[in-house]
């Protein structure tokens, strides 16, 4: 469904994304992980049109959407959320979502109905009249989700939608994501909350320093030496030359990594 073809993104002398190729099939729930600054959000920006790649192509359902402005690719069903929430601050929650719904509904009435439905889906229906800029972080993330859902995406790119959430909110968000996936939306998730990623995603891609270093199932990724090295450094990865370190050592190392990232994201403001 989504084909990222040798995409490179250069900013002046810096290569934020180096020759990344990735495919996501329809119906997938995939994860994109990697240390901070690895280039994940940049990759999303390229896919969704916020950035034009220095090289490479992006194909969505067979169509070349490289460099397409976001409002065009939205029509095809390719949507995203932002890492730092961007609500329409002075508008109500309802109006925020209505704007998303408007790209699918011609009439404002139907758009409002759709918007209310989406707000209900994320549990914000009772706050429909509140002003967006007053929302706490967790609810802003939900609003972000409701908004993009209103555009009826077929593939959704979620950029750290759990960032800064507490454990219960994470659980709630995980369930919502599963639910959305169940409705037939393909999802790619950038996340640091490892337990969620491991349990939700069928396939995970790992990026470090702009390069794709591993792709596979959660188990594969957990044990992958290169992934461990990327997160924790050389010494923890063990010294076996192959892709798999000794099972036990890599297991504990991966668990430590998962816990470390969970702890840090939970304490994030």
């Amino acid at each position: 469904m989504l084909e990222i073809d040798n995409v490179t993104m250069r900013f002046g002398g810096l290569k934020a994304v180096k020759d990344v190729s990735l495919t996501v099939a329809a119906g997938d729930l995939a994860g994109l992980i990697g240390p901070n600054g690895a280039g994940k959000t940049t990759l999303f920006n390229v896919v969704c049109g916020q950035l034009r790649p220095s090289a490479g192509r992006v194909l969505f359902e067979g169509r070349d959407v490289t460099g397409w402005k976001p409002h065009r690719s939205i029509r095809l069903g390719l949507g995203r959320t932002f890492q730092i929430t961007r609500p329409f601050g002075r508008l109500s929650l309802l109006d925020n979502v209505v704007i998303g719904a408007m790209c699918r509904e011609k009439s404002l009435d139907r758009a409002r109905q759709a918007a209310l439905g989406r707000l209900a889906q994320v549990g914000l229906a009772d706050r429909a009249q509140d002003t967006a800029q007053n929302l706490p972080l967790g609810l802003r993330k939900k609003l972000e989700l409701a908004r993009i859902l209103a555009t009826r995406p077929r593939m959704l790119l979620l950029d750290e939608v759990m960032g800064g959430l507490g454990p219960r909110e994470i659980e709630e968000m995980s369930r919502t994501i599963s639910q959305i996936h169940g409705e037939g939306v393909s999802i790619v998730l950038i996340e640091h909350v490892m337990p969620a990623v491991m349990s939700l995603c069928q396939r995970i891609a790992v990026i470090n320093h702009g390069e794709l270093i591993a792709v596979g199932s959660p188990q594969d990724i957990r044990a992958d030496r290169r992934v461990i090295k990327a997160y924790l450094g050389e010494s923890v990865a063990g010294d076996s030359p192959g892709g798999q370190g000794s099972a036990a050592a890599s297991q504990t190392a991966a668990q430590a990594a998962a816990q470390a990232t969970t702890a840090s994201s939970a304490t994030e403001a």
Binding site: R86, S92, D95, I99, D109, R112, Q129, T151
Partner: protein, 434 residues
């Protein structure tokens, strides 16, 4: 104070996103179709559309707003009447005032110009208040309209009826060009760029004096007749007052319509966060250009009409930065981002200064602009929401007075009002049925 049910923003069309007042938007499922309430609709309270960081929900009135939203959807009889009152008043002013003032051309002209400047501030508001793209170059469109129709008429014998659309078309083209050029520029830098355009046009107007009359100005031929959009002396000012009143009404209604339309939502999205809007399917470029073009066309229309009214135009009047700032000033003082704000601002500032000029003839030149400048600073720093921020408190006061007044007078209930409804005005809150 007991809280009686009020007729609020009657339908889901109230408090549209351009007014950005979240408080009175209501659940469409609970709506009853009631009469359009222009007073409430005009922002339904301090429109957060006024680019102001202060959060509306922090105000006490927000609690009242959401209570009403939760209350019955039926209109309260007294409320419906008091809501219709401002609209009727406005219309009466438009129709009646000019005729009333016919005897004194001085006041008539002030009224006429209030309508014109209000309309121009309203047009400016479309791109600056609603879309959030602040322009300091609107005098370029005003002047372009003025010169286009005047040059075609004076030098080419083309009737202003044709010249005006030509001016509008040119202004739209210019607006599109400016919009594309300033595409990636953020707020203040875009404003800076628009200044460059106005200055450029002023220089060109002064330079090509064969065409434009240069800095001495251009005289518009006086050949009275409808075909030439010039009027004979006896009723001239009155007719023009009505013409400008019509323009003002047109701009006002257009803005109200815009606020409630899909385009209005998109403009609000563009204003709040352009990238997020784009990522939600809003074609920000198209929306930007559309609003700019619309704003430019209306401003150009005003400029052409002004030229026909004054029969004389000069670059320093119609193509000056001061004029641009004036449009902005009136809108800001009245309330940016609302349909009625620009008219309030024009209605307050322009007569105030013109009348004080005549009251104190010794005032030196530059006094008006000095006051405008100071007013702008004070308004923007201390009253960023503008005069309409006075709306909710005043309206509540008015309702309070109206209700107790009517009850005391023992007025007979009008059709549709029940005794219960009338009594409810004095008693504790309860639902009323129309």
């Amino acid at each position: 104070m007991t809280q009686a049910p009020r007729s609020q923003a009657p339908s889901h069309q109230a408090a549209p996103p351009l007014a950005a007042d979240a408080r009175t938007v209501r659940d469409p499922a609970a709506q009853a179709q009631t009469a359009r309430d222009p007073a409430a609709g005009g922002g339904g309270g301090a429109p957060a559309g006024a680019p102001d960081a202060a959060t509306p929900t922090a105000e006490g009135s927000s609690a009242a707003g959401s209570n009403d939203a939760a209350a019955s959807a039926a209109a309260e009889p007294g409320g419906r009447l008091s809501a219709a009152a401002p609209a009727a008043l406005g219309l009466a002013a438009l129709l009646g005032l000019p005729a009333l003032l016919e005897g004194s051309p001085f006041y008539l002209e002030i009224l006429a110009l209030v309508f014109l400047w209000g309309a121009m501030a309203g047009a400016w508001n479309i791109v600056s208040g609603y879309a959030g793209k602040f322009s300091l170059g609107h005098a370029a469109f005003f002047g372009l309209g003025a010169y286009a129709s005047s040059i075609l008429y004076a030098r080419g014998g083309v009737s202003p009826w044709l010249g005006i659309p030509v001016g509008m078309a040119l202004s739209v083209a210019l607006a599109a060009f400016i919009g594309l050029v300033t595409l990636r520029l953020k707020g203040k830098y875009m404003a800076l760029c628009t200044i460059a355009f106005v200055s450029l046009m002023e220089i060109l107007a002064v330079h090509f004096r064969d065409l434009t009359g240069g800095s001495e100005g251009l005289m518009v031929p006086y050949e009275p007749g409808l075909a030439n959009l010039t009027f004979a002396n006896d009723h001239e000012k009155l007719v023009w007052a009505y013409v400008f009143a019509a323009l003002a009404l047109g701009v006002f209604l257009l803005c109200r319509r815009l606020e409630r339309s899909p385009l209005g939502y998109r403009l609000a999205a563009l204003r709040e966060d352009e990238d997020a809007a784009e990522a939600l399917g809003v074609n920000t470029l198209a929306v930007k250009l559309t609003s700019f073009g619309l704003s430019a066309a209306l401003t150009s229309l005003g400029g052409s009409l002004y030229a026909q009214y004054m029969l004389w135009i000069e670059p320093q009047y119609v193509l000056s930065m001061e004029l641009s700032t004036q449009f902005a000033l009136f809108a800001i003082i009245g309330g940016v981002g609302s349909a009625v704000g620009p008219f309030l601002g024009a209605g307050l500032m322009f007569p105030l200064l013109t009348l004080s000029r005549s009251a104190f003839p010794g005032l030196p030149p530059g006094f008006n602009m000095l006051v405008y400048g100071l007013a702008l600073i004070v308004a923007v720093l201390f009253f960023p929401k503008g005069l309409i921020a006075l709306g909710p408190p005043l309206r509540r006061l008015a309702r309070l007075i109206g209700r107790t007044g009517r009850a005391r007078l023992g007025r007979r209930p009008a059709a549709g009002e029940t005794a219960a409804g009338l009594n409810a005005a004095e008693g504790p809150a309860g639902s009323s049925h129309a």
